[in-house]
Subunit: 338 residues, 2 copies
Amino acid sequence: MGEVLAGYLTAQAGAFLRALPQAVGEAGSRPGALPASAAAADDLLRSVRRVGGALHTFGAAFDPAWAQESRTELRWLLNLLAQEPAYQRRSTRLLAALDSLADTDPAGPGMLAGHAGAPKARALLDRQLTLARTRVHTVLLQELRSARLHALADRMTLLSGDVPLLDGEASAPAEALLPRAGAALAALSAGAERLPLQRAAVPYGGGGLHRLGTAADVRGPVADAETAVAADDAPWLRARILLKRARYALEVCGAPVPELDGLDRVLGRHQEAADAAVTAATAARTPRITPATAYVLGVVHADQRLEVEAARYAFGQQWPGLAPGLGGWEGPPAPRKA
Amino acid sequence: MGEVLAGYLTAQAGAFLRALPQAVGEAGSRPGALPASAAAADDLLRSVRRVGGALHTFGAAFDPAWAQESRTELRWLLNLLAQEPAYQRRSTRLLAALDSLADTDPAGPGMLAGHAGAPKARALLDRQLTLARTRVHTVLLQELRSARLHALADRMTLLSGDVPLLDGEASAPAEALLPRAGAALAALSAGAERLPLQRAAVPYGGGGLHRLGTAADVRGPVADAETAVAADDAPWLRARILLKRARYALEVCGAPVPELDGLDRVLGRHQEAADAAVTAATAARTPRITPATAYVLGVVHADQRLEVEAARYAFGQQWPGLAPGLGGWEGPPAPRKA
């Protein structure tokens, strides 16, 4: 088991160290040029997610304090790195949705074709998202020069050479990984069971706009829509985290399930649409906008919640066929890499 | 054939004459009380539609001038009677949608829960729809005392006693009705073929908000969204008319197809949601509304277009299973009433 797990972590830590200088820029390069490469930043995010996931699922194999600290630092970097590309994608998504809604092409106009509020709403969203991106970029630049990042890089350098497995774990057979990966799959199944899949299975059930779910502990009238929507989205966002962990656990075992990649993309679309909807709703509260702008933002907001509903429907179509195979999953007879 | 057709028209004209005094109010009753009975108005509409439909489909059996005049007068009364209940339904639909979107019940809040614009948008929609209803009601009151209505009532009295069939039609066998009913079904099939059913068959295809269809003769950029949306809806509204005619033709033949009633309801929902969406968009153009009100109206507008899309999806699910049976329809061996 130790061999497989160490091999995986060593490879991922190596990928981390290769991507870091390009993503962060060489020492001494002008800070304004950061991140130097979007592709390298993607690679960095990729390995950060995988190392963090493996340390979560197979945490019992490591010194608990070391594993916990490592995960905390990786999560810090993940949050730092993920924000700017997330704003970039959100901007692309919202402006594309708006352009499609306001399209005047006779081959396929949108329901806001030629609406006076559309260019104003577009400019407002563009301005607010550019501002948000600039803000997280500035924070990123500061943090990338921090001692904290250097310490994390050192930690990954160590990991790329010598994985600090507990005594006994290194010599355990590879099959010992399977129950832990199985636990990650069981957590995913349990998370999926908390989703309102029956409602999502009916297209146009209206769940995206009407009759949202709320956290069980909410009593009395819902204070505001944002709280209600966030409570409605929470189990889906949670399922996405569990799904990523399950994917990485299966990767460690050398037994990836490609359908999970597809479901991960569906839940990624769910989250991006949910975040975009919040951005549209927030933009609509900007003081002194015209009613036409606000009206267009209302349509865009509903359109993104519709995308949320569509992603839930897609998940509800794919998951039930996949779940039975995963529920009783005990891994392949022997992991391929073992 | 004459016997069957005459029997149907006599019965419908009788229903018309029974419903008329209640719907219109007795002579001498206070005009403000009109229409005296909503149920009677429904019955009246029901027979107006059926007589008009039968005169259209089986028009060749009658004196052409008489049939044409009768259809014109019936269509006039139909438009007159249908408007007030349509506004009533639209009001119910829009206010219910808004209440559901703004619901703060923790058991199922909406995406506009607690939004400041929701009560304002509700009051605006309510006011505008009440005004529109009052306006059509006033017109209805005037027209119900008109010589034109008395003439139509006289025409229906004649029809209830003696259906003016052409020579030879009265003695034709009942089977002669079938090719004419078949032609109504063929017109429905042709109308359904013009619908973008393939797009509608994919739930969340986004056709309701994005990539609307337009009339083939539109060139250059679409002038405004209302034109684009109207062009997108047109083939569906046309299909609804053809479906009603087909239903009534089958009724005349004593061979109703219950599935067509269901499809008629789906297309009725399509039309009501499309009309409600226009009302929301129009309300959003009211001068001096607040941005919050406009924003909520944008959400309501998108929500109704989503209902339009849902109705198209429902039609696309039901129609293909039904169409083959209707396409080659030549009627039952002998109509039941024959």
